[in-house]
């Protein structure tokens, strides 16, 4: 990354141009057109430092961790544990052992459901989620409900795509055992009032899980200030590799939970009579983890931190305003998700054109967006649409990208005029 961006308090066009140089994937032609990558909510591109770091690990440092006495193993172990410390600082956790490496948000939520859930939630108990959840924050709880006889309660949303806090308060009861809510909606962009959500749940002694998959790359997150009990995110949505993700859990919770999977590394001693589980965080990290992924994720986090999350957030807010205005000028276009507190996601439908057709036409213009239900089918039902078209922003997105999107959407309208 160049000095230009490090110096300026605001992330301007020059800073973004410098950042874009770090992302080779952005500089290619697709169907003969310059790629306009607006599918960042699905996965972000990776800066060269991350790719290089992962390559260097495999080229020169590859070894299993926590096992060997030899130099490479020691170095790999050290890099892996430093990665954990980077994540700890990134989300402002109190302790490194509160950071568990998992495959991604999906595995993180399944882990909570199958460990905390199986031991603390029973028949007649209630788990509270919302209408705007990703399938990965619905299905693990449904599975838990089937296993335990617990019940799922769903907090409704307004037409603008905001959580109905009044309904949330009403739904919280003596039977509520857990609240699990998305921090930033991947389909609407809504930033939920997570501090209030946590406060209201804690007032009843109910722990809170936050799905931070769409938050961590776009705003600074402080799990201690939020006081949430669990926080989950995926590395690949925050400039890092696929296959690595994070579950943060407060020490007291993690200690009270049984292990998730059994195997090597998660034990202290094994005999056929009795096995003693390892201390945190290893109790939850059975088997050889994604070492390269964790190290790559740390590099991604350090990259993003060097740019500055507050600057990223401010920049993306400007872009969002620009994009909202640009798209609103398109006739027959309706934005899905117009919350007053929103992240860089522009989800929309156009009268008379199915999102799938828009997606194909945009793709031929080099514009990569996502169409479909975005793994939020209950939300689509609530919105009364089978699917939407979604453009999602990142720190390297430019106004030119938005202009290209708008032109491509106008072209699609012409095809269907």
């Amino acid at each position: 990354m160049s000095k230009v961006i490090a110096a300026s308090p605001r992330l301007g066009a020059a800073g973004v141009t410098a950042i874009r140089r770090d992302f080779r994937a952005l500089h290619q032609l697709v169907h003969g057109k310059p790629l306009v990558y607006l599918d960042n909510a699905a996965t972000t591109q990776k800066p060269q430092v991350v790719i290089d770091r992962v390559a260097r690990y495999y080229a020169l440092e590859n070894a299993n961790i926590h096992r060997g006495v030899h130099a490479l193993s020691e170095r790999a172990t050290d890099a892996y544990e430093r990665a954990r410390a980077s994540v700890q600082r990134f989300i402002h956790a109190a302790e490194p052992h509160e950071i568990l490496f998992v495959r991604g948000t999906t595995e993180a939520i399944n882990l909570i459901a199958q460990t905390y859930g199986r031991t603390h939630i029973g028949a007649g108990d209630e788990i509270v989620i919302s209408t705007m959840e990703h399938h990965s924050n619905i299905v693990p709880w449904q599975m838990l409900c089937e296993q335990t006889g617990a019940r799922l309660r769903v907090v409704p949303i307004t037409d603008a795509g905001e959580l109905r806090l009044d309904e949330y308060e009403r739904i919280l009861s003596d039977r509520t055992r857990l609240v699990s809510i998305v921090h930033v909606s991947n389909a609407l962009g809504t930033i939920n009032p997570v501090d209030q959500i946590v406060r209201l749940a804690h007032a009843r002694g109910v722990p809170v899980v936050l799905d931070g998959a769409q938050a961590v790359a776009h705003m600074s997150v402080d799990v201690q200030a939020l006081d949430c009990d669990f926080y989950a995110f995926s590395g690949h949505k925050v400039l890092g590799p696929t296959g690595i993700g994070v579950l943060y859990g407060k020490t007291s919770f993690l200690e009270a939970m049984p292990p998730y999977q059994g195997g090597g590394d998660m034990i202290r001693s094994v005999s056929f009579e009795r096995t003693h589980y390892n201390v945190l965080p290893y109790k939850f990290e059975a088997g050889t983890p994604h070492i390269a992924g964790a190290i790559g994720l740390a590099t991604a986090i350090e990259y993003l931190t060097a740019v500055g999350l507050d600057r990223v957030a401010a920049y993306e807010q400007e872009l969002l305003a620009y994009g909202t205005d640009a798209l609103s000028r398109i006739q027959g276009l309706r934005l899905s998700g117009t919350a007053s507190h929103k992240a860089g996601i522009l989800s929309f439908v156009i009268d008379g054109i199915h999102p799938h057709d828009i997606g194909t036409i945009l793709d031929r213009e080099g514009v990569a967006i996502r169409t479909g239900h975005h793994c939020c089918q209950p939300l689509m039902d609530r919105l009364g649409v089978p699917a939407t078209t979604r453009a999602s922003l990142a720190l390297y997105t430019t106004r030119e990208d938005i202009d290209a999107l708008r032109t491509a959407v106008e072209n699609a309208r012409e095809v269907f005029a």
């Binding site: 199915h354 799938h356 194909t360 239900h373 269907f416």
Partner: protein
Amino acid sequence: MSDLQDLYQEVILDHNRRPRNFRAIEGGRRAGGYNPLCGDKLTVYLRLDGDRITEAAFQGSGCAISKASASLMTDAVKGKTLAEADALFERFHHMVTAAPDAPVDELGKLSVLAGVRQFPVRVKCATLAWHTLRAAAEAREAIVSTE
């Protein structure tokens, strides 16, 4: 834009805007097709006289390709036996999955969908109605999907 023009030909756009045989048929056979990822959802209705299709219709919502394909299909299979309709599906399937430069079989109006072969991810849209037709012909209850 040329492969896009191949895909979204005027005939296809017209069938998307004004789908033919867009209605239910009471008392005949029917089956449902659903591609949840795209959000394409349709019901195909058949009236049979022995094994001859005397009437075919559909209802539902979806992308232009799935709707136009359903619309064209209901026109094309009317008057055919179930075996003839099945054979037509085979040829149609071949047409939309062939290599982009392969010659296009003469399939009458259905040939306008040959452009789909340049868009492999859209094959499932073009064939949803046909798979659903097959299910209706066989009086199968399960929802058909091509995803």
